[in-house]
Amino acid sequence: MFKNIFFFSLIFTALVFTGCHEELLFPEPPSNITTANFYKTAKDIDMGVIAIYGRLQYRKARVQSMENSDLTFMELPGDNMYKGTWARHYEHVDEWNCLPTSTGMDYMWTQSYSGIFYANSVLENIDNPVNYVAGEKEKYLGEAKFMRALFYFDLVRLYGGVPRIDKTVSIADSRKVGRAPEADIYNLIVEDLKAAVDNLPAQNTPGRASKGAAVALLAKVYVYLKDWSNAKIYFEKLFSEFNFELLPDVTNILKTEDNKELIFVVKYVDGTYGQFLSKEGLPYQGIFKVLKDGGNWCPSWDLLKRFDPEDTRKEAAITEMWKSYATKEADEPIWNPWINKWFVPERMNVATTVGCELDIPVLRLGDMILLYAETLYELNQTGPALVQLNRIRERAFNGSTHNYSDSDIPNKEAWLEKLHLERRFELCFEGERWFDLVRSGLYLNLHEYETYNDGQGVILKRKLDPKPWKKYFPIPQSEIDQYDPGVLVQNEGYD
């Protein structure tokens, strides 16, 4: 009996204590990097910065079918582009009928704040590493601040004042952060960009921000703030200290990469990390020999008919005749205008579901010169302003034949009309039009614009119902639902 008990106790004790608690309860994650062991080296910080750009790359046009992309919110509501019959969703954006619950209303919000979070994570940990080489830390700091400013600039233009988050925030606290006044957001943007200007290197890897990019963005921000004198300072800094040049051939600006006119671009490569923008402006039935399907975002007749026939930008932006993928070699093309601005056949993949490698510019010199012209005019330097405007026209018409003279611009009204028309021609389908309409107030006069029927040449009208409050998009309801009641206030008109 006692022998048995002894024997049993021995076995039991042995079995109970063979289990190794530490190994079972505190295993090292074999494949997970965690916050506990990251952001320790310069390389870690670099990876953090890469991700910020990655978020912008994703937001801009990496989602197939343009259901979600920058242009959906920055170009579609304007009068340059409209949703064709077969384009999916977003008629509410096209027709200015957004509701807080409408499809995709949260897209720009969540994508931008995600990018801001990545930037905040980098900035909070930037002092950890001790192995930076000279200038490296400053570069990362400048990049993170530049990108944060860029995300906020988009947010404030789309929604007005938004929650001001400049460091990572806990879940509990986040539910209590309301919207900051628009001015506060702009203050943060200016502050960040000034730091970026101070810290960014003059040259950076293509696709990453350089000092020139920060200067250009800051100048543009001052234009939106109507702080014309500061805008002038930074435009002139941009033109004098950096080597950006207008490309002589206007059709090459977007269709070639890394050219001298581009100040800051988002890089794409063929495949998963490609963009869908190039394909979405094509007719739904594709392009003969190139692409089977398109996204059916259409150029408006309103824009097309205003182009001077000699304006080279027309050919660079819109092609009027079209042959679908399914047609035969012998079939005649038909009149059905489509957006050609991003169309580079040799960079396309025939499958609609594969992204295109063409880069998407965020800041380019053509835009800067027109903004500079605007700035000069506002500072009453009408002569120099006209010179800048004509620089853009000269390039477009391959000479000075179509230059404006003083007599063309008797007053400010005429100036603004000419300036914004020029911006339409120069920057159509680049995501400037909606913001230009809003900041100029022109959107209030936009009761309708002309579209046309797919493939039949019949002109139609798109009716709009302009209201002052429509300058902002609604705050997404899905976001409001996550805050403590009453904290995140809806924009006027949507509540």
Binding site: N4, I50, A51, G54, Q482, D495
Partner: protein, 1134 residues
Amino acid sequence: MKKKQDKGDFMNNILKTMRVMRICLFLSVISTSLVFSASTYSQSTKLTLNLNDVTVKEVIQTIEDQSEFIFFYQDQQIDLTRRVSIRANDKNIEEVLNKLFEGTKNIYAISDRQVVVGLSRRQAEEALASLKRITGPLENLELQQKSISGSVTDSNGLPLPGVSVIVKGTSIGTVTGADGKFLLFIPVTAEILQFSFVGMYTQEVVIEGQTTFSIVMEEETIGLDEVVAIGYGTMRRSSVTGAISRVENITLDQVPISSVGKSLQGRLAGVHISNPNNSPGQPAHIIIRGRGSISAGNDPLVVVDGFAGGSLEQLSMHDIESIEVLKDAAAAAIYGSRGSGGVIIVTTRKGKTGAPQLNFNAYAGYSIPFMYDDWAGPDEWIYWQTKNMNRWFANDGYDPSIPIFGDPRRPLAYQVNPALAEGPWSNWAEKITRLAPMQNYNLSARGGTDNVQYYVSGTYNHEEGSLLTEYYKSYTFRANIDVKVRENIKLAALLNPSFYDRREAGHSMHDLYRHPPFVSSEQNPDGSWPQGRDYWAYSTMSSASPLDRLYNTEYFRNGFSNLGELSLSYEPIKGLILKSSVSTNISFAQQDNWSGVQKLTFDGSAVDSRGINLLNENILTYHKTLKDVHEFNGLLGASYQKSTSRSNQVVAIRNSFANDIIHTVNNAQAHATSSSSSKSLWGLVSYFGRINYGYKEKYLLSASYRTDGSSRFGKDNKWGVFPALAGAWRISEEGFWQLSAINELRLRASYGVTGNMSIGNFAALGNMGTFYYTPDDVLTAGMVQTSFENRDLSWETTHSYDYGILLGLLDNRLLLNFDYYIKKTTNLLYTVSVPTITGFSSALDNIGEIENKGFEIELTTKNLTGKFTWNTSFNMARNKNQVIDLGGIPERIATNEMIYWLLRPGEPMFSYYGYKIVGIFMNSGDLEKYPKLSVNKVGDPIFQDTNKDGEITPDDRVVLGNYHPDYTMGMVNDFTWKRFDLNITMQASLGGEIQHMIQHYQMGRDNGGIRLSVVKNQFWSEDDPGDGKTPSLCRTRYQIYNYSDWYLANASFLAIRNINLGYTLPIFISQKVGINNLRIYTSITNPLVITSKEFDGVNPEGMSRYDPDSAYPGIDRGSVPLTTNISLGVNVTF
């Protein structure tokens, strides 16, 4: 009150029976050959035989038929197939037998009517000695005793070994041998024989001079004496204190469904088993007593032969003996941090002492999919599509009187080409489905000696999917071996390798259904498939033929798994058993994907994953009865479990395949960022104990305790504690109980704590993940934080209260079990939506409380006994789910852009939430009259202006229903008449809602197919307003109906899940062909499914796209149709 022996006698009897069993098995199975002094029968009986070239077996049979002789022998000791010729005219038995066994090693002996045949004299002597011990001194034998013999079979005519045969009121008895026969010496004064067997009704037979008995035992469908698995042990049903449901596999393995879970539908009270995906090989979805967890899953823990963390789907139903479900925390708390969802205990078939029994079961049949029958034909389609386009045209501000075709004023996109009706016509729903064959074979052998018992089995199953290209094949093997090494040392080993091979369609039904019907389904000569645009330039967006998609999407899945276990039990002192086991559940899974639809977009990938789950358990049990009235069962245990997994995947860069001959990724370029390899693991350390105490089987108490440490939880919160307490009072055992009609009345109450640890392995850590960018066109990895660190993250805790009554009437002919429970789950592992300014859209936290309460009724009745028997087992459960608290947050809303799901205290979890439709804008006057959305037009639904502020805003959203059924019911009816048996299983669910979006795609959207019932009542125009209740579901206006109750339907249903009709051939026929038992049967699943009128789908439990247990439940965007499976089967025992 039912008469019962008192406790002491009962136990003594059990012990005696045990002993008797062992000796008699020895007697009748291991050995034979007895010599008793000649008895009168054998000498007086004369035999006349004239047999030419027959087998020994046939000779023996002939003798048995001709006389009262009964033969005892062991199959392997006699060559039964030897052919002999015997002629005897009026000879006595000895002469016949001498001739029969001439030249063999066999030695026979005769005692009265019993003939025993064996191999040696020694066996006979040992047997004789044993016999003496049972029946007393040999010298008294002839004076006081007589011998009786007989055979016992079950209701199917199968011999029943191990039945105890006892002279009532004495300790004289024996058990039947492997062939179901027995031989017993009884006092001449004996009056009544009692036959008893676990799971069978005890039978009493008056002896009255009879010497041979032929007994048919009936299965006790409702027994209190059956043994129930309770987790780390078993217990008599009569002593159980927790809420446990049990189902035994009698004909479950003949239901023509390969999923173990699905074949249990309707059979267990409070266990809601649904079939959300009817593709072959897809598992059932099981919820026990409601959902208590928002994000961490509600799947029950599956314990297979003691291994916690198995899966029902790796088993073959053929190998399952019984399934127990531990429903209340008192029962499940012994599984601690994994018990919250309830525990399903599977016991597989084990070996049995006795001659080998070979069983073969096979069925084959077809599955017939449920289909819609109201698709528009060519002319109807043109008619309705024209209306559709005109309505849409008008809605967009144009003049619908412009001709529908060929007028340049009407954009092509708004035109309908009437010539389409002249072309080919395809009913795509029919083209993509089929009558699908299925077959299933199982072969098993079971037997053993006193020291070694075995059960080995193999199953092959092959089902084609009713959706084209889908199939499922599985190969399941099992070997269960029990070895008695010493009297007190036992070793058990089990192996369960299984392999499956499956092809999935890879496309959801709604995408296939919606194809234009004017497109031919005939393949072009060049191998391509006709597309919409070949017929109509402005055709749909989804242009590839459904057949093109199905045939050119190759999603192959296969997997291998093996659950292996070796355990050693050692009994150093009587009643004290130490059992130590090591088990592994190893699984490998592979996915091979390739698609090349339209020969345009080529994708491919290969994913290999493996998981190894290692478990060591050490359990000490002690059983002791004091003074015959105090019964103790104690248990102490320690368990260590570690699960590791690894996954490798290689993904081809889209369109990088060199050609479409080879579909593996070696024929393409690997995608750098999608191709990866990763590992993960979790560990669990547990200590547990339990004590059961019973006083005279009247007062029963049970207490258990478990503590679990888990790697998954935050480092400041590693250990959880899970206690439970339960008690029962069998009032009917009290002396004062006088109501004889009520033979069993028991009250139960229990409380316990269980947990849920189903979160990601390292979810408590702040994890980083890669996020790429391409500076300078070089793909470069970036890193971002992908989850919050939560050092306090811990298990969900469920507190359960259960109160039960068990009532047995008329000698348990009617057994009623009622349970009322309250289950409160706190510290929910909840993926809360968070403001995205945090950088995340969601985060995991322990927040809030969910309550499930309800009742369950199980009623089993023996309606008819005798020649025609009818047993019914009915179950019903009511569960009410309610969110109690969300960590102080007033509500949370989730959405998938079709409906909102609401979490709000006081409402069921994930209630559907949105706008309530109160009418239709019938004319422009209505548009002025009622509050509306700015986008509303005539024909749109009017949303309820809940807060009466004159506007439709998100504040007007209301709770629209929920997907939890209020009542679930099941009923199983078993009938037998002569050799026929019939089983009918029904299931019903009442009160849940389903969001059946599928109609969305059945009204001509994108020029797709049109169902007449979907379009006929719609609002078409002010002059053609339909039934006034159905809004204008115009193409561009679908979105308006999202977030409303338009697509919500009552998901209640009543289904006959299975009918199984069998016929067992009479033994005298089947034995002629050397078969002990032969049953042929036909089985039909889902012969009838009745749904609510408003539900318009093909499976009221169907879910598409989303995991039914995810945060977005209840959506049916076209689930795989239910099928009626008709099969014919045969079950043979040799």
